[in-house]
């Protein structure tokens, strides 16, 4: 179900920063790939949105258990999770 090839790591992070900023959270000024997503407002409700947005955008499937509180606390970590599951798909 790959929507398009996964972009290069730096571009993927940049795209995810934009996705979070424009479609998920009201991010504080200066929000970047290493900013804490929970401090930017990520909660259990927005995590559901995030999963769906990421899966639709990148055609990856994040299996149950793929996400932990600590492995999606920044965009950089989230990009690593996405790359890991895109590679194994």
């Amino acid at each position: 179900m790959a929507a398009r090839p996964l972009p290069a790591p730096a571009l993927l992070e940049a795209e995810l920063v934009v996705l979070v900023r424009e479609r998920l959270l009201e991010t504080p000024p200066g929000f970047h790939a290493e900013s804490n997503l929970y401090l930017a407002g990520l909660d259990s409700m927005s995590i559901m949105q995030l999963i769906i947005l990421v899966e639709e955008e990148y055609g990856v499937s994040l299996p149950d258990g793929a996400l932990t509180k600590d492995n999606i606390s920044t965009v950089r970590q989230l990009a690593q999770v996405i790359r890991a599951h895109a590679a194994s798909a």
């Binding site: 998920l24 959270l25 009201e26 504080p28 929970y38 401090l39 930017a40 407002g41 990520l42 909660d43 259990s44 409700m45 927005s46 995590i47 559901m48 949105q49 999963i51 769906i52 899966e55 994040l62 149950d64 258990g65 793929a66 996400l67 932990t68 509180k69």
Partner: protein
């Protein structure tokens, strides 16, 4: 019947206003349409008090500090002492006090009993209002009362509308979405820890993608309650998008039935599919859907988003707001806007005074502010603070005493030291 002050609406703002007015010496009547005080807490099962504490400093170890003196502090401390609250707990960048709606209503009753000069009419609606007179309605029976000053703490500005005071309201498409909250019992604490909640979020997302749950389930949020074994489920509802009208009985009816239907589907899913929820059941429905925003009364000053963003100070400050703007214009989670300097924003007395109606004050979520600012000012901690300030001002004015911001703040300090 003759009163000095009539307070319409017995939610957190109205309770604070009525108690403050009576304590300052005014014969006060508090009118509430439900069978319990507490407003959105009792009727809509709002189970946390937001806006009580200052925003935490960058350093994570800073303990929470109450943002308000006076009634907000008194109420939260007594609720904790009565075992009706737990916390505060840190959620992201804010501190929140978890509370039990039943305990909130009981404490409200107790405070009313302790307060001389305070009369309460439950199960009572406003029918008409003009000048010093208000017509009340209880089950088809009218009662006429008179008062010298009024506080509209109805949330929907119902008293202001009856008195003909100008109000405003955001476009329906932008109004804060409503929430349908219900209590789920038989939920072990382990089913609601951070890891379990994250797994649950993934399961729900998956079920929505697979069509096993409606897309509206993406507005669901589960939280452990201050009561062991119970959880509260908050369903943010879309309300029909641009058709959402929190003042229209057809729309409200549809929201209630849709809320219960979605709650039923979600509960069935949890029982069948999610570990820990097999023996869960709906312990309580709300008496009504939780409306976050409707009318706002036009005051002598309108609090704006820019005031909150810069932590504005006003010479006639009578309360503060310490909560960020929490915009819920969609049912897909809040968008937070924090003050740039992390500081509370003053709420001027003028924002609690109707623009062209000297006898009318307002408190709670219908005070004078913009749509964005209301997303911060509407929370219960701030309602307790604006309610107290409006009640003091109305009480002092009705008794013919000085009732400017200085007098309000002095009265609050005197009452606090006496208690």
């Amino acid at each position: 019947m003759e009163f000095d002050v009539l307070v319409a609406g017995g939610g957190s703002a109205g309770l604070a206003a009525a108690v403050a007015a009576a304590r300052v010496g005014a014969r006060t009547l508090l009118v509430e349409r439900h069978g319990a005080l507490g407003g959105m807490v009792s009727a809509a099962l709002v189970h946390s008090i937001c806006g009580l504490y200052r925003l935490p400093a960058k350093c994570e170890s800073t303990p929470p500090a109450l943002a308000h003196a006076g009634f907000a502090a008194e109420f939260s401390i007594r609720l904790l002492a009565a075992g009706g609250a737990s916390g505060p707990v840190r959620m992201g960048r804010v501190d929140v006090l978890l509370q039990r709606p039943t305990a909130f209503a009981q404490l409200a009753d107790q405070i009313v009993r302790e307060t001389p000069r305070l009369n309460v009419r439950l199960h009572t609606e406003l029918l008409a209002a003009e000048g010093e007179s208000v017509t009340l309605l209880c089950r088809g029976q009218r009662e006429s009362v008179r008062a010298a000053a009024f506080v509209d703490a109805t949330g929907d500005a119902a008293l202001a509308v009856l008195r003909g005071a100008p109000c405003e309201q955001a476009d329906r498409a932008r109004l804060q979405r409503p929430a349908f909250i219900f209590a789920l019992a038989g939920v072990p604490a382990a089913a609601l820890d951070d890891t379990a909640r994250l797994q649950l979020a993934q399961l729900l997302a998956r079920a929505v993608q697979a069509g096993a749950l409606p897309a509206d389930a993406l507005g669901a949020h589960l939280r452990a309650c201050a009561q062991e074994g119970e959880a509260f489920v908050t369903l943010d509802l879309d309300g029909g998008g641009a058709a959402y009208d929190p003042l229209d009985p057809h729309c409200l009816t549809q929201l209630e039935t849709a809320g219960r239907a979605l709650a039923g589907q979600l509960t069935d899913f949890l029982r069948r599919q999610v570990e820990g929820f097999a023996h869960s059941y709906v312990a309580a429905w709300p008496a009504r859907v939780g409306v976050r925003e409707s009318r706002r009364v036009m005051g002598r000053y309108r609090v704006e988003a820019a005031d909150l963003e810069r932590g504005a100070a006003f010479a006639d400050a009578v309360a503060v707001s310490a909560w960020p703007m929490e915009l819920r214009e969609t049912a897909r989670g809040p968008r937070w806007r924090f003050p740039t300097n992390g500081q509370p924003c003053d709420i001027p007395l003028r924002a609690l005074q109707a623009r062209d109606d000297a006898a009318l004050f307002m408190a709670g979520r219908c005070l004078s502010c913009s749509h964005e600012a209301q997303a911060a000012l509407r929370v219960i901690g701030t309602c307790l603070a604006t309610g107290e300030a409006a009640g003091l001002a109305a009480g002092l004015q009705a008794l013919g005493k000085p009732c400017d911001a200085n007098a309000v703040n002095t009265a609050r300090a005197q009452l606090s030291s006496r208690g």
